[in-house]
């Protein structure tokens, strides 16, 4: 059995008990602000109102960790998109209770020397779980800070030995209408299943790319993509394909699910970019969950140092 929690974090350090109370803080602040508004005062633009987060316990940050305050576990697990479980952001938490992330198998195919069907434990055997506190920026212009545990995707890929002709890697989510209510629909189907994502090989082996297996030191909750999901923090959240059952190495650029759904709105790269708006809304700013006013969005979600060189010379307006 794979050990989920990295050894250097006692659970007391990542307990979200105090963070949970941030909600109460938000409510208090909201009350205050709404009260002021009722009195007819205009709030000056851009001033962050919610600042009263409880300080997380001191912990030496890893090389890629953000020192920003993590979003409370309660929010991470009750507000997200996982269309297989429903289209509202509260649906994944409600409809994933009986999901079975164990036993789990992942099929590895395509241009590699180690294809086959792997059990979850076999796929990750011998690889080290790391802590990564990453920003997560959704294409819908909200964001969180999530303390993940997972295995660098580069390590998994190395183990599977892709051939030199492999230029891309594809990931697929489980198809199981018994477990996923939205996959039982025939009318107004939201997306074509399985949910499908892909990365260029250099992106997949970038040190930031993570195969996440946990959040806050606990196994990945069902609603967040248990047992195994992709995390690419410089890209919009929809690249983070959940409940992965299939990995395929290929030489052709994959057409990911959202690109297939609306190619003029969602591209293959989906790099966070405040200068390239979504056709229907601006990407220049985002609402950090727990904060009252929006904040500016950073290029590559603030991970330019690690990823910008991969896109040097590319027109990011065309390759959105």
């Amino acid at each position: 059995m794979l050990i989920q929690r990295a050894s250097d974090i006692p659970s007391s350090e990542i307990t979200s008990e105090n963070l949970y109370h941030n909600r109460r803080e938000f409510i208090k602040t909201a009350s205050a602000v709404l009260g002021i508004a009722a009195a007819g005062t205009i709030i000056p633009g851009g001033a962050p109102v919610v600042g009263a987060f409880a300080e997380p316990q001191a912990k030496k940050p890893g090389a890629y960790d953000t020192t920003e305050k993590p979003t409370p576990l309660e929010d991470i697990t009750t507000y997200n998109n996982y269309y297989e479980f429903g289209i509202d952001k509260s649906d994944p938490a409600k409809n994933s209770r009986n999901f079975k992330p164990k036993p789990w198998t992942v099929k590895v195919e395509g241009m590699c020397s180690k294809p086959g069907t792997y059990s979850f434990d076999d796929l990750l055997k011998g690889l080290t779980v790391e802590d990564r506190i990453y920003r997560m920026r959704c294409v819908e212009a909200w964001s969180m800070v999530i303390p993940w545990q997972g295995i660098p995707l580069a390590d998994v890929i190395k183990k599977l030995e892709p051939t030199s002709s492999a230029k891309y890697v594809e990931f697929k989510t489980l198809v199981d209408p018994n477990q996923y209510p939205e996959q039982r629909r025939s009318f107004f189907k939201v997306l074509d299943w399985p949910y499908f994502e892909g990365l260029r090989m250099d992106e997949a082996t970038n040190p930031l790319a993570l195969f996440a297996t946990g959040i806050y030191g606990k196994p990945l909750p069902n609603q967040n993509g248990a047992p195994l999901r992709l995390v690419t923090p410089w890209k919009y959240g929809f690249k983070g394909v959940k409940a992965i059952v299939n990995i395929r190495f290929t030489d052709k650029q994959p057409v990911n699910t959202w690109q297939q759904q609306a190619a003029q709105e969602y591209g293959f790269y989906a790099n966070v970019n405040p200068n390239v708006d979504h056709p229907r809304w601006t990407q220049a700013r985002e609402r950090r969950i727990g904060e009252f006013f929006k904040r500016p969005t950073q290029m590559f979600n603030g991970y330019g140092e690690q990823v910008a060189q991969m896109y040097a010379g590319m027109d990011l307006r065309k390759n959105y």
Partner: protein, 209 residues
Amino acid sequence: MPKFNRWWILKPVVFFACLVPTAWLLFDTFTGGLSANPLEDIRDRTGIWTLRFLMITLAVTPFRRITGWSSLIRFRRMLGLFGFFYAFVHLATYVWLDQYFDFAEILKDMFLKRPFIITGFISFLLLVPLAITSTRKWIARLGGSRWQMLHRLIYLGAAAGVLHYYLRVKADIERPVAYAAVLTILLLFRGWHTLQRRRSQSAAEMKAV
């Protein structure tokens, strides 16, 4: 002795019923019942209630004709004004919570490339004259038929509102399509009714001749 008038009771009852979505939203806001993104919940819920009140308002006439319960008309103005109230709060959440009164940004948002913002705004603008002229004085000033003509703007306002919803969602078009279907039925009923009336009128004229 003045006759007991049940409207004195029913009107306040309906009025407070129309405030239930507001009370519910406030309750959720201050008890932590909203999601991790409460500001967007407030924006989305007031938007949905705007559409619902517009649909309810538009349903009054067909419902009266089908059931013969004519006195329902007494509630129509209140229902329509509540639609306007929710639209106003919805617009305010966008102007305040999303854009912080940055009007340059709002104009850019509307006119450059965001059809869903502009359709929403058009919908609101179409409702403004209806809210203003909803008083008895204004009905008298405009005269019944001109007032009625003006208030047909609600058809366009509701259609723009539904389009605004449709243009906003990502892939989950089921709900906006459901609103579009309800609106279509409500408008078709009116078209059908007008046709019927014309037919019976011309039949009556034929007889008179």
